[in-house]
Symmetry: C2
Subunit: 178 residues, 2 copies
């Protein structure tokens, strides 16, 4: 694993698979014996999330920190303040863990969504990217990737929704959506 260049990877777009693909990378890297950290900027703990249960079963090689307060569903400053505090805590955690060189892969899940809703600033996220150790693969996910981040990234994929079952009245499915 030594000597390889870590990539800055962006999964963006309005479709499914941004988080799921980063979980797949986490599984693959864990299978290779690498150390993986996933910090979730929007998802919180407590709901019945498959990936959080899986991480507990997998043991110390894969850590998932659900630091968020859910997707933004209403406006209002008090409400947004709670989200902002949660996202800033997630950012602080990332700022502490990324430079430690403990990990081979770090996923900052929905951090781009958090930038879009001004829960965190683009400047703070760029500072974090600048602290990335050479060997570390860093994955940023979420809708609305800013051009500055796309410019900086090595690998950018847009997940585009072609067809979605919610529009056909089918509910979120356990094991698929969560």
């Amino acid at each position: 694993m030594g000597g390889e260049k870590g990539l800055l990877i962006v999964n963006t777009g309005n479709g499914k698979g941004k988080t799921t693909a980063s979980l797949g990378m986490a599984l693959r890297a864990w299978g290779q014996g690498m150390k993986v950290l996933v910090i979730q900027f929007i998802k919180g703990a407590g709901r019945d999330y498959g990936e959080q249960k899986a991480a507990k079963k997998l043991g110390p090689g894969l850590t998932i920190c659900p630091a968020g307060r859910g997707f933004i569903r209403e406006a209002g400053e008090t409400y947004l303040d709670q989200h902002r505090r949660a996202a800033l805590e997630a950012l602080d955690l990332a700022g502490m863990e990324i430079p430690t060189r403990k990990y081979n892969l770090v996923v900052l899940d929905e951090i781009l969504y958090a930038i879009h809703y001004k829960l965190v600033s683009l400047g703070d996220v760029m500072d974090l990217v600048n602290q990335k150790p050479e060997h570390l693969h860093l994955v940023l996910t979420g809708r609305y990737a800013p051009p500055e981040i796309i410019e900086r990234a090595d690998l950018v994929t847009e997940m585009k929704e072609i067809k979605h079952p919610f529009s056909r009245g089918i509910k979120a499915q356990k094991g698929i959506e969560f």
Copy 2:
């Protein structure tokens, strides 16, 4: 888990994340205590694949069968015949396992690529889809999804390449690409 409608899910497009997102779904479903089978139509065993190592470590809840012979790199009938035989074995395996109702999630990885290269026929794959038990989530991945399959699917995502490191001279990375 009983009583839910299983979805037909398609991950297609020229970008990364088609297989990786299905592995993420596999991890999530495994975390929910579901039974997962992944049949790889193109990837073979023997190379150093992170997901195959991970599946071995995870135990019986997640099974990955690498039944393929690699991506198509040359023409020639002898060469294509080997691939065709491998893909047909994968198809037979899927045809045996899907109706058993043993699984909650089955991923047929790169089966759409196999249709495109005429390793398997669209008709055979549609027959397989028709055998899907009601509760089963069935995921089909690969470039060049045929319109008949998109029409039939519940959830379709196109993974679109925006920027790829190979074009900048960076090699495939362990834990990320494989």
